[in-house]
């Protein structure tokens, strides 16, 4: 691995370099319930290179938010990490002590939470909230608060807010402005990885576009990598280099964004893209038949087999593994396993 201290020149495409920043290996997050463990994340693996924008998409209940919280080591009871490794810059986050992980959060991996309206402290001024995070998580020990004020102004300007916002309370801000404050907090210690969990879910389209563009600029400015978690395929297409599709706790396909949309491999990805309403012509969107499975009662074999149009015998017997089926593209589907074997 390259020396993490020497920053390589900003590269905005995944192809430009291969320095792995984050690597997730066979991560499992289970929720303990009276009827047994619910496998919200069941063996997810992926890598993230420097400057890469990865998006994890899935419907509600697919495990995407559980995955994001596990990457921050913020899984709460009854949830627990049941296995796997999360390696950030060469260091596994899962065995770290509470104090060690506190130094990693925000300074190396930071989260832009879902619904910023509820993630800010309503009785604290914006600048104090930003300073709080910086003081708590910086590796260099505790800096004096007054010294950090100019830094707060710089952070606010970087997310497109005027410096007068620093003295305001969250209720004085619009939803888009609160989301910008959340981004300022998340990037205050220049993390290597920015996790964004549905950062625009409650915002209007125009504001959504502004927020995503700001997030993109921040990431490029910091030469950081981004993991965007979301359900909106349109939004993801606008932002990501690489897209991972989750279904029932597993990654079923991961590939460069352009290829996913041009030629989706997994039948679920294909139907998901077909189910998007388009502005190009009327009557071109159809729902995926059936319903998403409940995680406590998953079908035998491939979880998608009851809804899959291409189902065959093997699907209801064997769970397909995520395998590389073409250059840079992986899918967990028996249809492509055979192709892989043939080649």
């Amino acid at each position: 691995m390259a020396d993490p201290v020497t920053k390589s020149p900003p590269a905005h495409t995944a192809e430009a370099n291969n320095e792995v920043v984050l690597s997730v290996e066979d991560l499992k997050v289970y929720y303990d319930t009276p009827s047994g463990p619910l496998k919200a994340v069941d063996g997810v693996s992926f890598t993230l290179t420097r400057g890469e924008r990865l998006a994890i998409v899935g419907e509600s209940g697919s495990g995407k938010s559980t995955l994001a919280t596990a990457l921050m080591r913020m899984t709460r009871s009854p949830g627990r990490v049941a296995g796997g490794r999360v390696i950030l810059d060469g260091k596994d986050l899962l065995p770290l002590t509470a104090e060690q992980i506190r130094r990693v959060r925000l300074s190396e991996i930071a989260l832009v939470p879902q619904g910023a309206m509820n993630s800010l402290n309503p009785v604290m001024r914006v600048e104090d909230q930003i300073i709080d995070g910086m003081v708590d998580h910086s590796e260099t020990g505790r800096a004096a608060k007054p010294e950090l004020r100019p830094r707060v102004h710089e952070l606010l300007r970087r997310v497109g807010l005027s410096t007068s916002v620093s003295r305001m309370f969250p209720h004085e801000l619009s939803g888009g402005m609160k989301q910008r404050v959340a981004m300022a907090i998340a990037t205050s210690l220049s993390p290597k990885v920015i996790l964004a969990d549905e950062p625009t879910s409650a915002l209007d389209v125009v504001v959504q576009r502004q927020i995503m563009q700001t997030l993109g600029q921040l990431q490029e400015g910091l030469d950081a990598s981004t993991v965007l978690v979301g359900h909106d395929m349109g939004l993801v297409a606008q932002f990501a280099d690489t897209i991972g599709v989750m279904y029932a706790g597993r990654l079923v396909e991961i590939a460069p964004a352009r290829q996913i949309f041009q030629n989706p491999l997994h039948p679920y990805t294909r139907l998901l893209i077909k189910s998007l309403p388009s502005l190009a012509g009327k009557g071109e969107f159809i729902a995926i038949p059936g319903l998403p499975p409940t995680l406590l009662d998953l079908p035998q074999g491939c979880s998608f087999n009851p809804r899959c149009p291409d189902v065959f015998d093997k699907c209801s017997a064997v769970t397909p593994q995520l395998l590389e089926v073409m250059q840079g593209r992986s899918a967990a589907c028996h249809l492509f396993e055979q192709k892989g074997e043939d080649n």
Partner: protein
């Protein structure tokens, strides 16, 4: 012909008032709109949060009273209706709300939410007949009665619950269904089913649907006509083909450009001159969009733009089109296009 439902110069103002310094919010600003009885179609009211679309829904339902202007149902002012007329109005205009989780009482089975409207509006009905009506309504929205009835709300998915809500509205044989963001909390893969059951109601049963949403792609897919609201006023209205495919108002253009297209080769433009956040500097007298408008002209700041009949099936409230005639009596429905054939009463029963 007397319109089925009519908003006539309706304005709704919140806040302000005697002894209060809070600024007034004009949620709906002089909007006129009609639904004709002989042309069942789907009309979308679209806009961002704060555009007044939900207040419009509440006015159309008679739950909110206009500050000025009137709401008429079959020619009668909703505010001055007698008990019998009000009952008829409440039966024939049915709402479907946004959140399929909160519109249920978790302690009652699904059957309850379907049985009680029959009891409330239809008078005493034999159990077997109720059952038959409920099953018919469920089938109409694509649910299997034996898999739905007898269950509790938490045993159904969000999409199923929302379809039960459509079935509930359907039971009362309404003339109008008003759906306020019916799919915004439902997974993308299941949205099409709910929207399809709404459009079947129009096509097969002749029910007029008012679809309130911020999502222009689904609006384009299911509706015939659309009203784009901005800060309580109509920015642009007309047939979806015209308004969505070829927007004229700068605000509609901004909205459509901002929709994230599921295509990595068609990303948002980097030019964000129109993305300036409204700094609340909009002049009180002029166009409400002037402070964000990329095409703003001098007289935009002092003249409120009237609705211009830009073409046969579209009206826009923008001074760019001041060379076209003003829309007569401001009823935005006068430019609507109706593509669906008008069903005769005999044809409204599905086979």
């Amino acid at each position: 012909m007397t319109p089925l439902l009519e908003l006539r110069n309706v304005t709704k103002i919140f806040g302000g008032g005697f002894l209060r310094k809070a600024p007034q919010t004009v949620a709906v600003d002089d909007v006129s709109f009609t639904i004709q009885p002989d042309r069942p179609s789907i009309t979308t009211i679209a806009g961002e949060s704060g555009s007044g679309k939900t207040t419009m829904a509440r006015l159309l339902l008679g739950v909110a009273k206009p500050t000025s202007g009137q709401v008429f149902y079959k020619g009668k002012d909703v505010a001055g209706m007698g008990r019998r007329e009000q009952r008829e109005f409440r039966r024939e205009v049915q709402p479907i709300f946004q959140d399929p989780f909160e519109s249920y009482n978790p302690f009652y089975k699904i059957d309850h939410v379907l049985n009680s409207p029959i009891g409330n509006f239809m008078g005493p009905t034999p159990r077997s007949q109720r059952r038959e009506m409920i099953e018919e309504a469920l089938q109409m929205v694509g649910l299997r009665p034996q898999e739905t009835l007898g269950r509790f709300p938490h045993q159904l998915s969000g999409g199923q619950r929302q379809r039960v809500m459509v079935a509930r509205a359907l039971l009362l044989k309404p003339r109008i269904i008003l759906a306020d963001e019916p799919v915004s909390m439902v997974d993308a893969s299941l949205r099409a089913t709910i929207l399809d059951s709404l459009s079947r109601l129009t096509r097969e049963l002749g029910i007029a649907v008012v679809y309130i949403t911020h999502d222009l792609t689904t609006a384009y897919q299911i509706s015939d006509n659309i009203i784009i609201m901005y800060k309580g006023s109509v920015a642009e209205a007309g047939s979806v083909e015209r308004v969505i495919r070829d927007p004229k108002h700068p605000y509609t253009r901004l909205l459509i450009e901002s929709i994230p297209q599921p295509d990595p080769d068609r990303r948002w433009g980097e030019d964000d001159s129109a993305l300036r956040i409204g700094e609340e500097t909009a002049s009180a007298t002029g166009c409400k969009f002037a402070d964000r408008c990329p095409m703003v002209m001098e007289n935009c700041l002092d003249t409120p733009p009237p609705l211009y009949a830009v073409d046969e099936h579209r009206t826009a409230s923008c001074l760019l089109y001041s060379d076209t005639p003003e829309l007569q009596d401001r009823d935005v429905a006068s430019v609507f296009a109706y593509s669906a054939p008008v069903p005769t009463p005999a044809a409204t029963v599905p086979t």
